[in-house]
Every structure is written in structure tokens, then in C-alpha cells.
């Protein structure tokens, strides 16, 4: 219940922001993809109502807007996790076992690619070639490219995040009684 409320509030903030940003864009059809990119860049995903707002701004049908947005791989329609994991499955990564890396992340986090963990800490996506083929297999964790991945490195990365989170929580607890 609580979580739902916060998600709603979150979306409202996002929509207000988009409304103010839309003003700088023209109303030609050619602005559609730049607008969608702006939304995703600022908010990491495209909220359902944002599609409606974009369609109204450009004077085109909602289904048409949705059709374009879903055509391109870049656009996401669910909020990603705090830590975004992208596993490269380009040719070089595939030959060097990229799918095994993806599977290890999936197993470790108990989600499939394209999903977010219920606590919204992690999400996994597969990407096709980030152009670091010489370092294959590659995963991108929060914009940092991790080259020469191995199953053991997957465990290490996730453990690192968990330890950091626990540390942050401990520190928060420590500082709370003082206030």
C-alpha cells in the first residue's frame, strides 16, 4: 500500500517535470524521438501518462506515439533499479560466454532480463554491443564498463553493492539516535 502511494507521488513529480520541459520542444513530428529521449534521460523510464502528454503536444494519436516508442529498443516503460546492470550480448561477448554472465546475474538476483528486483535495488537488461568487444565479455554496471567478466566477478559485484548498502544503513542507524 505504502509503496504504491509513493510510486504514484513519484509519477506525479515526473509528469510535472515533463510538462515544463515540453515547452522548449517544437510541435513538429520530428521532435517525437528527441522528446522521448529527454523523458528517458531525465527519469530513466517513460511513464504511461508521459506518452499521452507527448502525443497531445505534437498533435498525434496516442497509439501512434506508443507505436514509435515501443519500436525502439532504447525506451523502457518500467522504472529500472537503483543499480542498473546491462549485460552485453554482442557477437564477441557471445563467443566468449556473455550468456553465462547474464544467467549468473539472473540467478543471483532472482529476476529475468528486463525486470527489476521487488526492492528496486537492481535491474537487468541485455544490450547488443556497447563497442568494447576487445574486453569481452562485458557488463555495464551503473555506467561503468566491467570488462572480462566471469561468474565469480558477478558474485563479487553484487556482494560489493550489498555490503555498501548495509554499511549505509548502519551509518544511518548510528546517526538517527543522535538526532
Amino acid at each position: 500500500m505504502n509503496q504504491e502511494n509513493s510510486l504514484e507521488a513519484e509519477e506525479k513529480v515526473i509528469l510535472d517535470d515533463i510538462a515544463s520541459r515540453l515547452k522548449v520542444f517544437g510541435r513538429e513530428r520530428g521532435e517525437l524521438i528527441p522528446i522521448l529521449q529527454m523523458i528517458q534521460e531525465r527519469h530513466a523510464y517513460i511513464v504511461e501518462d508521459a506518452i499521452k502528454m507527448t502525443a497531445e503536444h505534437l498533435g498525434i494519436a496516442i497509439c501512434e506515439t506508443y507505436g514509435v516508442a515501443t519500436f525502439y529498443n532504447q525506451f523502457r516503460f518500467h522504472p529500472p533499479g537503483k543499480n542498473q546492470i546491462k549485460v552485453c550480448l554482442g557477437t564477441a561477448c557471445h563467443v566468449r560466454g556473455g550468456d553465462i554472465i547474464l544467467e549468473n546475474f539472473e540467478r543471483k538476483l532472482e529476476i529475468r532480463d528486463g525486470e527489476t528486483t521487488p526492492d528496486r535495488e537492481f535491474s537487468i537488461e541485455r544490450v547488443v554491443c556497447v563497442g568494447c568487444c576487445a574486453l569481452a565479455p562485458v557488463a555495464i554496471v551503473n555506467e561503468t564498463v566491467q570488462g572480462h567478466m566471469a561468474p565469480s566477478k558477478v558474485e563479487g559485484l553484487i556482494l560489493g553493492f550489498k555490503i555498501e548498502k548495509e554499511k549505509a544503513e548502519r551509518e544511518k542507524q548510528k546517526s538517527e539516535p543522535a538526532q
Binding site: 513538429e28 513530428r29 520530428g30 521532435e31 517525437l32 524521438i33 528527441p34 522521448l36 529521449q37 505534437l58 507505436g67 514509435v68 519500436f71 525502439y72 529498443n73 532504447q74 525506451f75 550480448l89 554482442g90 557477437t91 564477441a92 557471445h94 563467443v95 566468449r96 560466454g97 553465462i100 544467467e103 549468473n104 540467478r107 543471483k108 544490450v127 547488443v128 554491443c129 556497447v130 563497442g131 568494447c132 568487444c133 576487445a134 574486453l135 569481452a136 562485458v138 564498463v145 566491467q146 570488462g147 566471469a150 561468474p151 565469480s152 558477478v154 558474485e155
Partner: protein, 644 residues
């Protein structure tokens, strides 16, 4: 153009060039050591940022005076992070260091810059001829390349336009503004340059068609929607030397009579987008773009458009659709974009490498360019050689060099003493060529004859552990997802091909599957409109042609000869080799599939094993006890006693 105009252009450019040279000389003459770090995406991925920070820290800490300069990528990805240190006072020439970790960086700063010891054990080579250190040019990875397009990459700072100008940049643009447009087109036609996007259409002819097409608002588009998984030279070029591309675009725009140009970059390349945008701003500031370029009557605005991740948008009509805000679906040609493109106006769409080839061609002349490469494919080709290869990275070679020279001599061959099996050229549209084709010269026509294609220049080398059926399945999985859905054969046909291949890799192949793959592949080629569908079956067709026995082993024997298809392989521990005392494999297993029996035998629970191969890596080399077999029933069964 009037002689008055010529004078204005020359004068305007002279001022900029003098300033660039003054800056360069001032930098060169400063009597401090210079540290040059390669900072393109692959460098950063290998830790170049950390290396740079380490240098900054140690310089500040020990009060060493030195300049740190960031440059683009020189294409030697296997050696990243790459650092070149120039310390003239030490008596050594500029030295090239590879794999410079932060620790190594600190050590180098201390030993080389403070004590004058260049630490020979970390040196890859010297950048110039000298008596002390062997030159990098003595290595085949360096001396067999012929750099035309990548020449300045890794030498200039991509974020400083003056460095490019001091290195001879924009000189060509200033020169052509004094020529008539058709003179430029003639020169490009004479050079025989063919489009580097893969199809190899003569660039000069494309420009000529665009010049003669009717339309007031012509556009030039630089196609940097590098979608082929396994190719990244366009990105490197934009990140390492964006101005050469912009100069090529400006020359093209002047020649065809366009006032607007667009760089269409993949959104997956954020650094390239950032650097190109900055480069455009700098060029505009100096009057090399914008209204009245260099004081002439030629206007040009260049914008950046970010593609949103659709492989099919590399196709020119789909690319235009996406700029116009539609789904990127190709349309029928003719009319070609040079007649009716963006907004119905004539549009020239050239690949990044094609445009970057223009300034050198105009500078040195068509005859010079023709002397490189082969008669029908003059010039150079850039390949990203990756996969199971020792010296992975970008290589620019003259057309006509054989695959063997490229893979074995220049790139060092296959690592870990494995055997070479095949090389995949041209990505999802290309094909796999076996060993017999290693003496094929690399040019547009020979590759097509062999069943592959130049494509975008992705080259993935595969060793004996790579399953060709699985590689075909991989490519079909890619093209099937990327099919825009317009043509039935492409949409449903690729899906069906993929299903069949998936069944085969799982050991569920049936009689007649291979024949059906072949007929369906031909049908998809015939029934598709654009290059995606027309070439999507290529990986299947070439691998069926050259590696049919592997397909047959999968279908008839339920066996994967390369032991790659996971359903068809199993791991076990050879108890004769196993030391029994160590638990390295048990600890490494992510799913706890490896167990130890009471008498210290190690077994693998096949129902739990995910076949990741970690145990094989973990098992100490002196035992080498983990075995991989196909078909899976070859693995001996070890009972895991529940009690006692």
C-alpha cells in the same frame, strides 16, 4: 567563386592555422615531460580514468612537473590503458606503455620522470627510431597497417579543435572552398572511393546524383548508427577524431549543394555524442561551420541526432523515417534518398568512414588514393578484429590484404594454443569463413564471392571451442528481434529459422531440418525488401555450406563437436587426475552442483549444473581434472551417498 572570395577564405583560415600552430609549438617547447593517455570508451572501460587520476595524484604528491594530455583511441584495445610518456631530458625517445594500471602509473612517474629509468619490463616500444629502445614500428601489429582514416586517431586531443588544425586539419576544407563543386565530385569519382558502410556504392556517383537532383533543401547525413554487434570503428572515429568526419561532411555538403547536415549517432554511444556535439560547437566558433564558412558564401549547419537503438535504422530509408519521428521501417527504393530523402528533398547518406576518407583524398589526390588497395576497391578497410584473438582491436589495412595476414600476422592469431576454426565477417549480414578461405584477399567483391560481405567491418575470430550452429542461432536471434516486421518473410521466416536452430542446438533436431533451413533461407532472401532481410540468412547459409558436418552431428548424434551448446554437453571431474584434497571446484560453483563423497571423490550433480565452466577455470593447472564432454551421457555418474 570569385578570386576575392578565395582571398577571404585563405586569410580567414590562415589566422586560425597560425593560432593552432602557435599553441602546438608553445606546448611542445615547454620543457616538461608529457604524458599522453588514450581515453576513448574502450580505454575508459579498461581503467584509463583511474590511471589518469593516479598520474595526477603522484605528480601532485611528489611535485613532479609534467603535462597530462588526453587523446583518443589508437585502436590497440588489447593494450589498454595505453600511455605514451615523453621525457626528453632523460635521453629516451617517447615511450609507449601498455596495460598501465594505477599502480604502474605511479611507479612509472617515480622511476621514469624522477630517476630517468624507463622500466624496460613495462615498455611496449618507442615511438621514434633510436638506439636505446626497440620501436613499436618493428612489430607487425604496427607496421603492417596503413592509416588513412584513423591516421590522426590517438594523436590529437578530440576535444581540442586546434590540435586537429595544427596537424593539417580543415586545410582541405579551405582548399575546396576555392574550387567549383563539380571539380570535387570529379576528384572523388576518380579516386574510386566506395561507400564504407558495407554495400560499397561508389561515393562520387552518389554525390553526383545528389548534386544534379532537384531540390532547394538538400541534406547530408553521416550514418553513425553502427548496429552490427562486434563493430565499433565508427564510434572510435567519432570519439577520437570527430573533426575529420565533420570536415568530410562539410566538403560533401559543399560539393552537393547542401546547407544542412546531420550526424546520426547511436544512443548507445554517449561519449561519441558528447564529443561530436562539442566538436561542432568549436568548429562553429572558429567559423568553420555556420553562416558563411570561412568568410565564403557557403553556409552549413550540422546537428546531431541520436538514434534510439534499432538495427534496421542503419538502412538509409529507415534512418530517414526515424529522423522524421516515425518507426524506422524501410521503404521501397527507388526513389533513392539522393532523389527524395529527408523531407522529400535530395539527401546524401554516407558512412562515417566514407566521410572521414574524403579529406585525405582531396588533400593527396585521387591518384594517391588509387595507389592504395586493389583496383576495384581502392583505399583502406578498417576492421574491428575481436573474439578469440591475441591482439584484438581496430586495424586499418589496405584492401587486398589476405585474411591470414590480418588474423595471424597482424593480430597475433588465436590465443591459448587453440586451433583457428572460422572468422565471421560482416556481422549479422555476413558469413562465417573457414580456414580454407584464409588466403582470400579482403575487398568488397572477393568477400561477397566467398559468401560473406564487408558489412560494417566487424570481424569475430572463432577458435575450435565455438559452435557454428550456435553462432548462427545467435545471429538469427539478433536479426529476428531486429526485423521491423514489414515483410512477412523477414518477420515470420527469421522466427521460424530461429526456432529450428534452437531445436538443433538443444539436441532436438529432426531429419529434413537442414534442407528446410536452406530453402527457407533462400525464400527469406527473395521475399524481403531491405538489406536486413536479404542478408539475415547469410550466417545460416555460409555455416551450412562450410560446416555441415557440425549441423549433422547435432541432428544425428545429439552431439556438439565444439562442446558449446549447453544442453548437449556435461562436465565431470576426472578422478584419476583430481588431487582429492583441494576444494577449488566446489568453492567456485555458483549453484553448488559439485559435491564430495565420503571417500573424497568429486562428483557433479548434472541436474543442478548450469555449465558455466567456472570449475574448469578454478581447477589448478597441474591437475586439470575438470572435463567437458558431448554428448552429455559420456560423463560418468558418481553416486552421492545420502547417508553414511
Amino acid at each position: 567563386m570569385s578570386p576575392l572570395n578565395n582571398e577571404t577564405v585563405q586569410k580567414a583560415f590562415g589566422v586560425i592555422r597560425d593560432e593552432a600552430k602557435r599553441r602546438r609549438d608553445a606546448f611542445r617547447e615547454e620543457p616538461v615531460p608529457k604524458i599522453q593517455i588514450g581515453m576513448a570508451t574502450c580505454g575508459i572501460a579498461s581503467g584509463a580514468l583511474e590511471t589518469k587520476n593516479a598520474f595526477e595524484e603522484v605528480l601532485a604528491e611528489r611535485k613532479i612537473e609534467a603535462h597530462i594530455r588526453t587523446v583518443g583511441c589508437i585502436g590497440h584495445c588489447y593494450a589498454e590503458p595505453v600511455v605514451i610518456m615523453d621525457h626528453p631530458e632523460s635521453g629516451f625517445p617517447p615511450i609507449f606503455y601498455h596495460n598501465v594500471t594505477p599502480g604502474k602509473a605511479k611507479m612509472l612517474a617515480k622511476s621514469f620522470l624522477e630517476e630517468g629509468d624507463p622500466l624496460f619490463e613495462h615498455v611496449l616500444g618507442a615511438m621514434e627510431e633510436n638506439d636505446l629502445v626497440p620501436q613499436v614500428l618493428d612489430f607487425p601489429r604496427f607496421n603492417q597497417e596503413k592509416r588513412v582514416v584513423l591516421e590522426k586517431c590517438g594523436r590529437v586531443d578530440p576535444e581540442d579543435i586546434y590540435e586537429y588544425i595544427a596537424d593539417g586539419g580543415y586545410e582541405t576544407l579551405a582548399k575546396i572552398l576555392q574550387l567549383a563543386p563539380n571539380e570535387i565530385i570529379e576528384e572523388v569519382q576518380k579516386s574510386g572511393l566506395r561507400g564504407r558502410g558495407g554495400a560499397g556504392f561508389p561515393t562520387g556517383r552518389k554525390w553526383d546524383l545528389a548534386r544534379n537532383a532537384d531540390g532547394q533543401h538538400k541534406t547530408v547525413i553521416c550514418n553513425a548508427d553502427e548496429g552490427d554487434p562486434g563493430a565499433y570503428m565508427d564510434r572510435t572515429l567519432l570519439e577520437s577524431n570527430p573533426h575529420q568526419v565533420l570536415e568530410g561532411m562539410a566538403i560533401c555538403a559543399y560539393a552537393v549543394g547542401a546547407q544542412k547536415a546531420i550526424v546520426y549517432v547511436r544512443a548507445e554511444y554517449p561519449l561519441a555524442v558528447k564529443i561530436v556535439t562539442k566538436a561542432i560547437g568549436q568548429a562553429r566558433e572558429l567559423g568553420l561551420l555556420g553562416e558563411g564558412v570561412l568568410g565564403s558564401s557557403f553556409d552549413l549547419e550540422i546537428d546531431v541526432f541520436q538514434g534510439s537503438g534499432a538495427f534496421v535504422c542503419g538502412e538509409e530509408t529507415a534512418l530517414i523515417q526515424s529522423i522524421e519521428g516515425n518507426r524506422g521501417m524501410p521503404r521501397h527504393r527507388p526513389p533513392y534518398p539522393v532523389q527524395q530523402g529527408l523531407g522529400g528533398q535530395p539527401t546524401v547518406i554516407n558512412n562515417v568512414k566514407t566521410l572521414a576518407s574524403i579529406p585525405p583524398i582531396i588533400e593527396h589526390g585521387a591518384t594517391w588514393f588509387r595507389a592504395i588497395g586493389t583496383e576495384k576497391s581502392p583505399g583502406t578497410a578498417i576492421f574491428s578484429v575481436v573474439g578469440n584473438i591475441v591482439h584484438a582491436g581496430l586495424v586499418e589495412i589496405p584492401m587486398g590484404v589476405t585474411l591470414r595476414t590480418l588474423i595471424f600476422d597482424i593480430c597475433g592469431g588465436v590465443p591459448n594454443k587453440k586451433k583457428f576454426k572460422a572468422v565471421q565477417i560482416g556481422g549479422p549480414s555476413g558469413g562465417c569463413l573457414p580456414e580454407d578461405f584464409l588466403d582470400t584477399p579482403i575487398d568488397f567483391d572477393s568477400l561477397i564471392q566467398a559468401g560473406a560481405m564487408m558489412g560494417s567491418g566487424g570481424m569475430v575470430v572463432m577458435d575450435e571451442d565455438t559452435c557454428m550452429v550456435d553462432v548462427s542461432r545467435y545471429f538469427l536471434d539478433f536479426t529476428q528481434k531486429e526485423s521491423c516486421g514489414k515483410c512477412t518473410f523477414c518477420r515470420i521466416g527469421t522466427h521460424h529459422l530461429l526456432n529450428t536452430l534452437e531445436r538443433i542446438t538443444k539436441g532436438e533436431g529432426r531429419d529434413g531440418d537442414l534442407e528446410q533451413l536452406e530453402t527457407l533461407s533462400e525464400d527469406i532472401k527473395d521475399g524481403s525488401l531491405c538489406g536486413l532481410g536479404k542478408t539475415a540468412p547469410n550466417p545460416v547459409l555460409t555455416s551450412l555450406r562450410y560446416f555441415r558436418d557440425e549441423y549433422e552431428a547435432h541432428v544425428k548424434e545429439r552431439r556438439c563437436p565444439a562442446r558449446m551448446c549447453r544442453t548437449l554437453t556435461a562436465f565431470y571431474i576426472d578422478l584419476d587426475k583430481c588431487a582429492r584434497g583441494c576444494d577449488a571446484c566446489v568453492g567456485s560453483c555458483p549453484v553448488e552442483a559439485i559435491f564430495t563423497t565420503k571417500d573424497r571423490k568429486k562428483g557433479v550433480d548434472q541436474s543442478l549444473c548450469v555449465k558455466c565452466g567456472e570449475c574448469m577455470v578454478a581447477c589448478p593447472a597441474e591437475y586439470d581434472a575438470v572435463m567437458k564432454v558431448s554428448p552429455p551421457d559420456l560423463a560418468p555418474i558418481i553416486e552421492q551417498a545420502v547417508d553414511d
